[in-house]
Subunit: 303 residues, 4 copies
């Protein structure tokens, strides 16, 4: 099986007292599946994976597996600081029936490409699950080199890449090298705003956080791309970019609080989530910031 198309990184709803909000979660998962997404990615950055205790991680995966119920494949993040910790998460992902796992480079400790490569190889030795490499230098502070990724694809270590690096040039070189090697990797872009450019560069799909808010848009864009209708692809991209302003209209916030905070606030305003609660030590967006997000949603006819 080859993964492709729209695989949203699932945002995790919390209750006001920081429990997993199962009802909201089910609502959101079903909403995306019914919109026609091609898979779900849980326990990525947008799922607040690094804010989760092991127990919370397990809860998030179990619920997603139960709701998905085979309708779409579920990719599970095994993101953690180093190989020994990641391998523990791999065991759980296997146990819970994940269809694939997603791993970043090690982080916090400063390592080089050779340690990163060994990290992925050690994960592969420990599991038969398809492995996606998650390229996210903003969070892990090392870029995954294209040569290494393709080599790991050729060697059967990696099944694919989620590229959230924001480096469109290296993305193009990656898809070209991947094609030259026989396309061993399914290459996804992790961006919301220039997904059309990624498709032009040959992406096999997209993992846009914004698809939690508007899954229909990204599903339609994917179909337009499959049909070769570039004008429509581009038009839908402009719509998505306008909607993405929910992450920049707030004041006094940036990073995770502004990004995932905006997604949660939008989903809360739209009635999908019962709360916009954020994991500690991050506070939910409030007051003027909620108003600003509501305005964007209205302008985009989502409210």
């Amino acid at each position: 099986m080859k993964f492709h198309g729209i695989i949203p990184p699932v945002v995790t709803p919390l209750t006001d007292d920081h429990e997993l909000d199962v009802a909201s979660y089910e609502r959101s998962l079903n909403r995306m599946i019914e919109a026609g997404v091609d898979g779900l990615f849980v326990l990525g950055s947008s799922s607040e994976v690094v804010f989760c205790t092991d127990e919370r991680r397990r809860q998030i995966v179990e619920t997603a597996m139960r709701v998905a119920d085979g309708r779409v494949p579920v990719l599970v993040g095994v993101i953690d600081t180093s190989t020994p910790r990641v391998l523990e998460h791999v065991r759980v992902a296997e146990e819970l029936g994940a269809d694939a796992i997603v791993a970043t480079a090690p982080f916090y400790a400063i390592v080089g490409q050779k340690e990163v490569e060994r990290h992925f190889r050690l994960i592969h030795e420990a599991t038969d699950l398809p492995i996606f490499a998650y390229d996210l230098p903003q969070c892990v502070h090392i870029k995954l080199q294209g040569d290494m990724l393709v080599r790991l694809g050729v060697d059967g270590v990696l099944a694919g890449v989620k590229d959230s690096s924001g480096d469109d040039v290296s993305f193009r070189y990656l898809t070209m090298a991947n094609d030259l090697a026989g396309h061993p990797l399914q290459v996804f872009t992790g961006h919301e705003v220039v997904v059309d450019g990624a498709y032009l560069s040959g992406a096999d799909g997209s993992v846009p956080g914004l698809a939690n808010v508007n899954p229909d848009l990204y599903v339609e864009q994917w179909k337009a791309y499959q049909a070769g209708d570039w004008d429509r692809v581009r038009e839908l991209q402009t719509q998505a970019a306008r909607l993405m302003r929910i992450t920049s209209v707030t004041r006094g916030e940036f990073g995770f609080a502004a990004g995932v905070g905006a997604f949660k606030t939008a989903l809360n305003l739209m009635g999908v989530f019962d709360s916009a609660q954020m994991p500690e030590p991050v506070l939910p967006l409030e007051g003027e910031n909620r108003v600003a997000i509501a305005q964007v949603l209205k302008q985009e006819s989502l409210l």
Copy 2:
């Protein structure tokens, strides 16, 4: 009790098959205690905290507590990506009898100073243990601001700071602001090479990884500082800087592999550790790199 003086961040010895090497660990802990260090810091970066499973973390702390046996206080790192995960480590540190805990800013998820401040306040709400803030922007990619640290000191949230930021100007401003506020914080430098300058700036102590290799040197330097003998302080600093070359004489390595790798290799060459094994996915230094480190040790009369 006020912490002060030399508190080495303890390097963790591994067996060749990646188990905790308890015998080597005991040898190294005793060697530092007998050299006269004023405390031990376990589960910091040098203890390879982010490479440890929860079980390994527990093992490292339990062994250190047992060996220290009240002779010196033991500070325990509760380093992890976010508040919920840190709070789990705090529970274990309390259970095992830690004398203080050490926490960094959250990492991976991009947060700002307000989330960092809330993080430390939430930890303080959850424990009565003295809390040290660990300023390590190279690993967590955010600098702890001096104003915030002093405010948290005044509010009784923080007992001290370990500054490994490499920013000597901000360190000076921190000690000045701390003094102006009545010295609520015990301020330690986390560096090896300009500890003398940190003492001149008013540091209450030092947390040098290199003290694993040569604890006597740093203990003697601390005493010379207490005696006001600046010529001796400076002379010993030059010796330490020469020894620190073990972390830069290797080739093809950098970051954790070169730094902690050199400490482990030196301790192995000196007979303190039975192996220079590193945690996955990092490999131990070998061949020419071991030779280069041995040469430095010989030049410094440690071999």
Copy 3:
């Protein structure tokens, strides 16, 4: 007049003794004009502007004006560290008949967006020439903010932007904001490898250094874009990306030496330039590096 299409940043040929190689320069300029480029940009980074004395700057512009002879417009870089120095270059550009000028943010001295905005406004007060803002954070270490650029466009200060920032998301937001404001700015991408994506984002043209080596390719790609033939646009982009490997196949070089060095070496190998000489303190590529570039040129049927 609105600038649009392919405006190569002209590479400057030197003789072995570091004089301007006028014969090679004429050959290269004519080659690009005859290939159908829509303009020429001299005294940009690729023209080695910051390596030029005032006299050399003048020589480069005079020669370009003479060769262009009105066949295509000539944009002239007035790049320098601060407003007073830039204004001197503006005087010379006016005197020599430039069709437009191109300015970066101030550099070396650390300034903020308000100083950058004032810089462009002061240049506008001093000249009637159309002004292009050159966004090049890799060299000037500050990103030009889209809001500011559009505001300067609306106010008639800027005629356009050359975006070499490598940030495709901000580029998309810039073109969207520019359209919303009535398209006051002509927006060019300064990249070689994802020009197709920039066209999809609504770019009015491209300023690719690689067009010195293969102007036909970029001219054809622009025409395919004008015709809405996205498959051809993309196909030509893949060709360009393959050719761009001349800047990465060398060893022991990076930055200006690898980039402009590769362009000069390719032009030398192809017989357009008589020498691959570089400005001091940079040395020309030699030996294996020339061989590696020649191989790429052969693979791409340019040799």
Copy 4:
């Protein structure tokens, strides 16, 4: 002759209409010379070198040479983007009688250590004047490596280094390597706040911008250092650090505007400068920011 001691980087006073304010300049130069400084450094970053036209550069040097009149040596910055431009400034410096010249690495164009080394060697080939390397990665975005600096010292290319890099560890390694090589380089720190630490590390002197505001303090600190009175050295450092707050008490400003802007404002408030005018595109500090600086000056008994 060996340069040593306190060599302030001279701040350049401007009239309100952006001319060189010769009367204020003379007053400030004489004030520093009479305070006992060991030299003057003109056309450095604090002299706003990169804001100067060639004519303004000449004016600044001529005036300084005339006022100094042999009482102290004058070091002249030849700072510019590349070798050819620097060599033009070297000619002028020689013509005007400079005692030494000061050069940074090339900037704007991205180069490596080998180009930087060649840059300094080419300057040396072109002049008999003593050359100081100015290590200022914040502005030129490349760090001068200690090994290279010492090698250039041993080879007679460099007479010294002004280290404004803010990296106290590399500074210590530099002084150690320099001593090991027979002390070919006179090594100065370019900082204001941890000059005492630099002395402990073996600095031959200091180039503090703040000495424009309070030259007596730094001269006295240098003498205390020469006398081995570390307590006094440290005490004076604390005074200097308190005064340095003039660069951080302002709001809405940073970089050059906050730093040199504060020095000019202080000198204006103290009656040394007739205006706090800044070079375009930077505006002078005003309103609340002037009040904040005046308060610091009062607290430090300079007003």
